[in-house]
Symmetry: C2
Subunit: 340 residues, 2 copies
Amino acid sequence: MAGVRSGHTEEIRKSRARPHAKAWGGIDLGGTKIEAVVADAEGRPLGHSRHPTPADGKPEEVVREMHAALVEAMGSAGLSAHRLVGVGVGAPGSVDMKAGTLARVSNVGRGWTEPYPLARDLSALAHSRVVLGNDVQVAVAAEFRLGAGRPYRSVLGVWWGTGVGGGLILDGVPWLGRGAAGEVGHMVVKPDGAQCGCGRRGCLEAYAGRANMEREARKAANDGEKTKLFGWMKKKDRSRLTSSVWMKALEEGDALATHLIDRALRMMGVGLASAINLTDVDAVILGGGLGTRLGPKYAERLFHAMHPHIFIPERQPPVCVAALGELSGAIGAALLVESR
Amino acid sequence: MAGVRSGHTEEIRKSRARPHAKAWGGIDLGGTKIEAVVADAEGRPLGHSRHPTPADGKPEEVVREMHAALVEAMGSAGLSAHRLVGVGVGAPGSVDMKAGTLARVSNVGRGWTEPYPLARDLSALAHSRVVLGNDVQVAVAAEFRLGAGRPYRSVLGVWWGTGVGGGLILDGVPWLGRGAAGEVGHMVVKPDGAQCGCGRRGCLEAYAGRANMEREARKAANDGEKTKLFGWMKKKDRSRLTSSVWMKALEEGDALATHLIDRALRMMGVGLASAINLTDVDAVILGGGLGTRLGPKYAERLFHAMHPHIFIPERQPPVCVAALGELSGAIGAALLVESR
């Protein structure tokens, strides 16, 4: 159970399943790792495992690895022979919940474009029904029910990591629109602005997404700007500027890292204030790799960055840091089953 | 019944109230005029009147004029002795629906800041219960139920006039947030951009609101730029650049008017695409004085202005022009009573 934060490890130990209790599986499918949990009816984790996502794997291999992670999570919960009520999966790309397919996945395994019947294949391996959902939307739902969103009825979740994802919960219910609601990262914060990975310009993600910030940082470093970002990256034995590398650079006062994060916060302020002026929800939940790593101090900075653009400033909603850590996606996936 | 569009006049004539049928009152309180309707249970207008808003009037005078308009609308419906089920009011400013008060009104009568008990005072005059709502939100609700929004479950209404207002209907229900949702006009479309009437910078309304466009036009004209905008204004005996003046200028190819409307459309494209990427609703309804006056041709231009910024371009929602004309606000106000 490496990587589980101490709070969760403890909770997992305390709440070991009674042998005949029902359990729900939840899998968070990411580009680098697969997180699996087995949870009780309230979404409390009973067991957990983490497997690396097969690099360059075909969809079939990815599904086999998801199943292996699930089996290990069940074992860690003492539920090896237990039949799950169902398994939820939070996935990136284009999820068709009804069809149980996943399409347009760019950064999982070798990636694929056409709809792949992930629910059917995983269901055959796990002997359990499988429900798909969007990775960020399920993580936001988990935070709403069990984490930082508990005091509120309506929240905007902002998942700040490689990209900038989001999810809306309105009056207690996830608002999915026609399936793709919550794309805060592709709200336009500057017309004809910076190039975004999505092919458009001026999206919030173009300024705040970790992938886009890394591209900017590499360009600046190649142009001779001084930064220790890539030195720390190598020291940490990473090939990418991970959230911990950014955090280290900020702590050490690296000028380039500080500049890029300041710019990201400024643009997050613009985009999220616009989202609040439109939806008028009770709170913003800040999650994702970078969001949770930067933590309360940066959540407060984000609050202040939003402030000048909030239409009713005396009623600006708070910005809260996600509380479930790296398990929010897997727990949210498990909750997905129950809610259908 | 001056100003009622022919379609409505006809409908009003056809659907004269049966003497004992129930009826609902609806009043749209605007800066220049008060529109009142008496409607049946489905919101179909049975009678209508329009009174000018008392210029520089105290709140008490505004309420008396609202009552006079309502009485006239009842008379035109042949309902002089009829007791209304209730009266709905759509108002600008800060509406407290529970308390029945209206505060922070800048452009009605002499304007006022503190909460004024409008529902209580109008109720005493009309011998009927009175329900308040936001003017744009009720107009959008009317279009959703009876107008351009009928084919859809979820819409974003954009009321393009003196300002740029908006309203969300999600899965058939108005989404009000904490009471102030739908402020599309104060989504930020350009950081540190043009000055907005709200005191902030770069709001959509700063580029597209008629009041802000007029200010820009005056500045340009004073700086020597050639335009016939103000000539047409005088010819039409107006003191403001009304929607019909803008329309005339566009039809005649006035360069300044064309430039300002083009810029407004470009910025509307940015802001509304961001709103769609966040909410993923089925359709955009374009209403308001300028929106309905410019009509389908400009709705199509708005669609194209949004297109480059839409996250799932193959599924971009249509932009439909509001269908109830100038009565949408009053009809929506009447529907407000029924829905409570």
